[in-house]
Homo-oligomer: 491 residues x 2
């Protein structure tokens, strides 16, 4: 089984695709750039979604649902916003099909043309702020803390499973506030929620920072982000939280009266993470044998494979396993007992290795005699013989250890791949030979950033929060700089 | 507050809309026929969804996600299917906007026209069966038991909040089986899941039955349904479960090899319920003062309103209430303590009455002295003084009683509104004067059914499962009939 996937060394990009397909996370679809999220991949997404949703609700947010369609005119109301999204919009122009009277089969009915075209939402600021206009009159209606789980469509030219698909699933938070400071606080609060989720649940270390102007969300005053590093040394933006100022309130004329009855425009934020996180998760931890999943998010945390000949042996194993499964359930561990006799144990071992199940327990007739089972951990590929008594508790501790270990491993890799560059030559060499984040001085202008991108294919991933000030010279122009920023080639 | 809604007597349809809007379940949107599901309405949907999702998983189903877009040619592959959906399809024809070179603002870029138009899924049989073709080869791949929670679009001419919207949220199950019997069993199993959910959770009695040919799903061999009765005597189809035979397997050429290596087409089912259920829930129980929600699904089960003057009284009440809230949480009761001092108790009483919160607890200074609280139930609008000691447990029992009471009330109404008609005159009079389900003989032909619909606006809601056989004559044609079927005017 593992022979079927390309190694990272050989072709990182193919390795990634192989894992997605072979582990059963997703499949290509008949529709250009769209994928099918398969049950195993969707179970992973559900675990991520449930955990994030819980955190959103704990921090006072409520879910709602807004229309899939955005009237074309709405998109145009915020100038930077339409500039950012116009080039990748799926447009609905008609609302009926009919039989071709000339025998050409089913065709679009030309008489069913919409007066105004509808855009499939690429993001929902415009339709939501048009709605907020009717919901917000006074300070009493604020803050409005709303999130939506939805599908969105961006007509990307080059697509990749999970990382960049025409349609993807995400959550988008859209909040409204009475003051600028409150909106900024919200932006930062959500950035923290994202970072905690990435580190504690995905076991993926991230850097929190603010984007440069070039990389800002279309319509935002400031875009904050969490940036992760993949095993090939490329960065991956994993979540963004935008302070939108009063831009959308002005575009949609959303004002509120404060306690003194004065009218002012409302302050806004928006923030989102998407199924792209699954791509990040795959690339952060997996190896040449397949997926490696953090136990806290794995759809199956423990798989038990019985090894037996004949019904009698099977019954003896069952007798030991059934109570063990109850032990696992009592501890909140998701366990699968795979006693399907149409597959051999070797096939199953390879299958669960590919699927990244954190712990595998194999148990055969001789193990029973010795009152033990063979416990293997997916991350280190080590195995040991463990007594059946108290096995569930032993495994629970092992799961925590795996969660920590893959986080530490990813963190060490990331730490080893933040490198300072002081000259343009050094910058280029580091990018080509080592990869990772390059910490370098930049003169702060959009032009220089653009030029660096053209020359090196690296972008400013972020200006880290709590960056230390340091005088220096821009690696490209030699102009004055007051702090280093993080560059990388990125997904 | 309650004065603001139209009474059922006065205008049932307006009463329904008033409740949706005033209770904060949903709002109209700027997009034709689409609504915004507001936080309170969405919380209700989440409760329904979570419960259904749990039942689907317990019965062996897994969630997945398929593309929003369906290539036009796919829809055409199953003849009855395209016939059923072609007239209400939103069609994507372009993938880019641009600035009008003639200064007309943002326009659809004529150069970005799709080679093949994409339909926004009205339902996903076609895209899913096109995918199943690559997933199913042998009996080992079966059964395939998949569900998806998604948005779908049907371009309806007349729309109503929740009951019929252009875009709606739903779940659609799509299963594949090796034998006809297994697929039929699946169809019936899901029908039972739906019926149990409607009765036990929504407190809404339903009749399980099979549809006549005219009312069958486009592409199904048989459509089973649950039918509920609303307070105005109209029926509402609340869920459907389809046995698709081999229709879609044949349309998409999906075959499997059985244990003897013989090839055969795969057998299929599909089934769904949607946000329409929220409309059903509103109409099944509510009264002229607002929403009435079954406790098992209510986003807020208990609201506590403190009545106080000054901080000192407030502190004393808090001291009693805080531990009480903990008691409720320990019992799994969702409780809201509304101590917002910008609203008066009277305003709050009206608000939670409108929102259908099952139990309201009011507590003031004098109550504290007597160690009691005033407990009101929304369904019967009665209130009583209850000792604070053990209050949470008392309320828990009360919640169960409310759940049972609204179910019984709806059931009694439904039972009183299933009436036999033996002549065409009687049939028409019953429809006009009493409404509800009319149990009548019908000659079994599609033509007669169509004629009855034209003349009376009533349709055959279903042929109840386990219907008793009875010889009789069709109410319209006088031809021979072997069983009564249920007619009604319907949503």
């Amino acid at each position: 089984m593992s022979k079927e996937i390309t190694s990272r060394e050989q072709d990182y990009s193919q390795w990634y695709n192989d894992i997605i397909i072979k582990a059963g996370l997703a499949d290509y679809s008949a529709v250009r750039g769209c994928m099918v999220i398969k049950p195993y991949g969707f179970a992973l997404w559900e675990n991520m979604r449930n955990q994030l949703d819980k955190r959103f609700k704990e921090t006072g947010h409520q879910n709602a649902y807004f229309p899939l369609f955005i009237p074309k005119s709405f998109l145009s109301k915020e100038a930077a916003h339409v500039e950012g999204f116009a080039k990748e919009c799926a447009v609905v122009t008609h609302y009926r099909l009919k039989n071709d009277p000339n025998g050409g089969g089913i065709i679009v009915d030309p008489e069913a043309k919409l007066e105004e075209e509808l855009i499939i939402r690429p993001t929902s600021e415009t339709i939501i702020w048009n709605t907020y206009k009717t919901w917000i009159q006074s300070y009493r209606d604020l803050p409005l803390l709303i999130n939506q789980w939805a599908n969105v469509v961006r007509w990307e030219m080059r697509t990749r499973l999970f990382l960049r698909t025409t349609e993807f699933l995400w959550q988008e938070g859209h909040t409204a506030h009475a003051t600028s400071q409150e909106a900024i606080d919200e932006t930062m609060k959500i950035l923290d929620v994202y970072a905690e989720f990435a580190e504690e649940w995905m076991a993926m270390p991230v850097i929190k920072g603010v984007k440069s102007i070039n990389e800002r969300f279309a319509g935002a005053v400031d875009t904050y982000c969490i940036e992760a590093l993949m095993q090939d040394g490329k960065a991956l933006q994993s979540g963004t939280s935008h302070f939108l100022g009063q831009n959308f309130a002005k575009a949609f004329d959303v004002k509120f009266s404060d306690k003194e009855n004065k009218l002012d425009y409302v302050w806004a934020t928006s923030w989102g993470v998407s199924t792209r996180l699954i791509g990040a998760l795959v690339m952060a931890h997996s190896d040449d044998d397949g997926l490696i999943l953090p136990p806290k998010l794995a759809p199956i945390q423990v798989v038990i494979v019985p090894i037996f000949k004949g019904d009698e042996q099977k019954k003896l194993i069952d007798k030991k396993i059934i109570p063990l499964i109850e032990d696992f359930k009592a501890l909140g561990v998701t366990v699968k007992y795979d006693d399907d006799d149409s597959r051999r144990p070797g096939w199953k071992f390879a299958e669960y290795e590919m699927k990244g199940v954190p712990v595998r327990i194999a148990i055969g007739a001789r193990d029973l005699e010795n009152n033990v089972a063979e416990v293997s951990r997916r991350d280190k590929k080590t195995k040991e013989s463990v007594f059946l008594d108290g096995l569930a508790k032993t495994v629970l501790i092992l799961l925590e250890d795996i969660q920590n270990n893959i986080y530490q491993k990813a963190k060490e890799y990331r730490e080893a791949h933040i490198t300072k560059a002081n000259t343009w030559d050094e910058f280029g060499r580091l990018l080509d030979e080592k990869g990772g984040f390059i910490s370098a001085h930049w003169d702060g202008t959009a032009e220089t950033e653009e030029k660096i991108k053209e020359l090196s294919k690296a972008t400013i991933r972020c200006i880290p929060l709590n960056n230390t000030k340091e005088e220096g010279k821009c690696i490209l122009t030699g102009k004055v700089s007051h702090e280093r920023v993080l560059f990388a080639r990125a997904y």
